[in-house]
Amino acid sequence: MAGNTINVTLKVWRQADKNARGAFASYSVKNISTDASFLEMLDVVNTGLEKEDKDPIVFDHDCREGICGMCGAVVNGVAHGPQSATTLCQLHMRKFKDGETIVLEPWRSAAFPVIKDLAVDRTAFDRIIEAGGFISVKTGQAPDAHAVAVPKIKADAAMDAASCIGCGACVAACPNASASLFTAAKVTQFAKLPQGDPERRSRVVAMVEQMDHEGFGSCSKHYECEAACPKEIKVENITNMNREYMRALVTRD
């Protein structure tokens, strides 16, 4: 623990509501501990604003442990900021230099309208899941957990895909604002498991259709999503989803 402090200038996107025109506002942040997390730095800025009776910066967050997927903003042009495999809440001020100017913007995508300042509406992700991101088993219907063995390699691959936290950074990073990485991760999780098999084809078709319907762009293989993803979800998932989709178009469930 170094225990140093730095000064930074923040340029933050401020937008009163969905329909308002936003603009950048500047704040100088003095003597911030390098051990503070990025969101704790924002807390300090907000306390200052509250003390001046001004409206603090709205930003979404909850767990502050990199798992709920609630936080996220574009930091100097990079979704979730400079540290790889790290959510905004897990980024620490030691990753910034004394005197640096930090530009902070919300996710930008037509399918994620800004609600206020850095908070955006990501309910489109919920609707993609609603379209097919589940296995239709009712409570009580399940057989014994050991009724079907699942090869470890498949279970591990399903787990890799399932670690997506639904933060939306992949969309924010994509030049086309595609939701392919998010959608593909869920499609792959279930495609790897025997339990997901009965609805395998209808699921991928419905989810892809919903993704298009929400106004997300299509994937043109820039792969910025993978670089931005805090959970290191791999673009192979997208290849897999495309394969699943093509196959499904030929033979539906």
Partner: protein, 636 residues
């Protein structure tokens, strides 16, 4: 007298018999009934999905932007179930026994037995949903021993078990939402409960984006709103976790049970600055391989690597030779505090102890340790900027879980008709101390396998409530809510909401934290009302109520914590014994362990609200132990 409505019959048959004796709602009639479920964590999401599958019309609420983000998502370690797949002697009875004992004989036996019974169904359900639990090479599920259990009954999905279980429950919920049978209300905060003639018929919520105050009525209400650990300000809970829903129900008549039972988790990253907003848990599984120590010399400032073996005090191994570093959470936490209080703490603030992997790495190799704990080591390094493969981790206990909660009977219904409480928000199954990997189990047991039965029985007997949102009581409660919000916004004081929250947290941590005594608790009872009064005069809530206003959200929650904390302290003061996570300094054994007083305190303390500055009334539910004999816990 509080009636827990425990069914008759032998312990192992109570639930089966009860299921048979309960009334059923005709399948065609279910769709005529509306159920409100507040909370989309494991308990709420599983309940909402299951009830909808059965045919009830469900409205589901959470304050996050998506149901998938409920605090359950953060659970790391695992979920218990009495499957006995490893063939190592586990059984429903053993899980039941361990839970009752682990809870220091302050839970209700019948509830715990049911929990152990349905635990096996949970794993089946989750696997069928596509939850990717860890598996062995043969393709079958892997189990580990957790939190000192002597059998391996914990199922896990890497270090993200809560996430995977919640995503499973969330997918079930979204499946029902797609059918149109569940209506989702996200970014909504429940701010009050509507009770008409003793029956709970609805809730008042605030739309967190527009500020709109809205009401919803139904035939039954379920609260699954999580725990109140954030009363301490710093805890491992998510920032938004709060007591508001439970507290507002309490103010409308629901009893609050055992509020003083809080769990302090021994392995968390220590506090490192006054800007600190939350504490991060390092999974308990680390204690399987890490050794806990402090220097033998007080105030030793050498780097840990320079301290020779004979000058290291592995205090848990010395004091508890048979359990060593794996003693239960409350015991591990208290011992860490004791050594730090005596001046042996390490790190810049001297409030930390070492958790050292040197010997495990020497024994098993760095790769093995990385395979087991890589995620956790990375997280530690990201936060602390220290490499735990080379230097020992520094840890300190932090508030983690709250065993207390709204009082419920065997059917998970509170003393208010129609108000059911599930998951961490109720008090029922963990007594005075929760065992690791048992909260996830309880949340899903309540939601998937208990409430679908008991709610039906309630609805079948109570019939439709027939109250619409135009009912005068609904309007009256809405006005109260608006009045409270206006009062907060108009206070226009000088201090921020967080300043008050931090101050409250310090009072609670000092006086009602890991160790409590009469003088300290009485001091807290003096200070809390003063702080509360100051809050209402001097808080500054910026912005207007009709907007997305996060300061106002926090102000409402802190305002409720400032009321709730008082009954928590009162409960701690009343309970003059030590049990589980509640340690009264006046009541300890010669060796400094928690000493229960079964003659006087073998009961649930359920508090009834009488007004903010009035003393609450205590109701006692006596606890009887038929199956597990009351003994002094010992981990020597």
């Amino acid at each position: 007298m509080l009636d827990a409505k425990i069914p008759d019959g032998p312990m192992a048959e109570k639930w089966t018999r009860h299921k048979f004796n309960m009334k059923l709602v005709n399948p065609a009639n279910k769709r005529k009934f509306n159920v409100i479920v507040v909370g989309t964590g494991l308990a709420g999401a599983s309940a909402a999905a299951s009830l909808s599958e059965m045919g009830y019309h469900v409205k589901s609420f959470c304050f996050q932007d998506s149901p998938r983000r409920a605090h359950s998502i953060a659970a790391q370690g695992g979920i218990n179930a009495a499957k006995n797949y490893p063939n190592d002697g586990d059984s429903v009875h053993r899980l039941f026994y361990d839970t009752v004992k682990g809870g220091d004989y302050r839970s209700r036996e019948a509830n715990v037995h049911r929990l152990a019974e349905v635990s096996v169904n949970i794993i089946d359900q989750c696997v069928a949903q596509g939850v990717p639990f860890a598996r062995e090479y043969g393709g079958y599920l892997d189990n580990r021993s957790f939190g000192g259990a002597q059998v391996s009954r914990t199922f896990y999905a890497r270090g993200q078990t809560g996430q995977q279980l919640l995503l499973g429950a969330y997918s079930a919920l979204m499946k029902e939402s797609a059918r149109g049978n569940v209506e989702l209300f996200t970014r909504r905060e429940m701010l009050d409960l509507i009770v008409v003639e003793g029956r709970t018929v609805g809730i008042v919520t605030r739309n967190l984006i527009t500020g709109q105050i809205e009401s919803h009525t139904a035939d039954a209400v379920i609260l699954a709103t999580g725990g109140y650990g954030n009363v301490f300000y710093l805890s491992t809970n998510a920032m938004g976790s709060n007591v508001t829903a439970a507290w507002r129900a309490h103010r409308r008549g629901a009893y609050f049970a055992n509020p003083c039972y809080t769990q302090i988790h021994p392995t968390c990253i220590p506090v490192h600055g006054d800007f600190q907003s939350k504490l991060t848990l390092m999974s308990e599984s680390l204690r399987n391989d890490g050794r806990i120590w402090v220097p033998r010399n007080e105030g030793d400032t050498r780097r840990p690597s320079e301290i020779p073996e004979e000058e290291r005090n592995y205090y848990l191994e010395e004091k508890y030779p048979s359990f060593g570093n794996l003693v239960p959470r409350d015991v591990a936490s208290r011992n860490a505090k004791e050594w730090c209080d005596k001046g042996f703490g390490v790190g810049a603030t001297k409030t930390a102890v070492y958790l050292d992997f040197r010997d495990a790495i020497a024994r098993d190799g760095e790769d093995t340790i990385r395979a087991k704990y890589g995620n956790l080591f990375d997280m530690y390094e990201r936060i602390v900027d220290d490499n735990p493969y080379q230097t020992p981790m520094m840890i300190y206990p932090a508030v983690h879980y709250t065993m207390g909660g709204l009082w419920v009977d065997y059917n998970l219904m509170s003393n208010l008709d129609g108000l059911h409480v599930l998951g961490e928000a109720n008090f029922s199954d963990h007594g005075a101390n929760r065992l690791g990997a048992s909260a996830l189990m309880q949340g899903l047991a309540d939601g998937y396998f208990v409430i679908p039965y008991t709610l039906g029985d309630y609805i079948a007997k109570a019939g439709p409530a027939g109250i619409g949102t135009d009912h005068p009581e609904v309007k009256r409660v809405e006005e109260e809510v608006t009045g409270r919000i206006d009062k907060l916004v108009n206070s226009k004081g000088k201090k921020t909401v967080d300043e008050f929250h931090r101050e409250l947290g310090l009072i609670m941590w000092d006086k009602c934290g890991m160790a409590r005594n009469e003088a300290g608790l009485k001091e807290a009872l003096q200070k809390i009302p003063e702080l509360r009064a100051e809050f209402h005069e001097n808080v500054n809530v910026t912005g207007s109520p009709g907007t997305f206003n996060q300061v106002l959200e926090r102000a409402g929650r802190v305002s409720d914590f400032l009321e709730f904390s008082e009954v928590m302290v009162r409960d701690a003061l009343h309970r003059g014994e030590s049990c589980g996570g509640h340690f009264r300094e006046e009541s300890q054994t010669d060796e400094g362990e928690a000493k229960r007083n079964d003659d006087e305190y073998c009961h649930v303390s359920a508090w009834e609200f009488n007004g903010v500055d009035k003393e609450p009334t205590l109701h006692k539910e006596p606890l009887t132990f038929e199956e597990v004999a009351l003994t002094q816990r010992s981990y020597k």
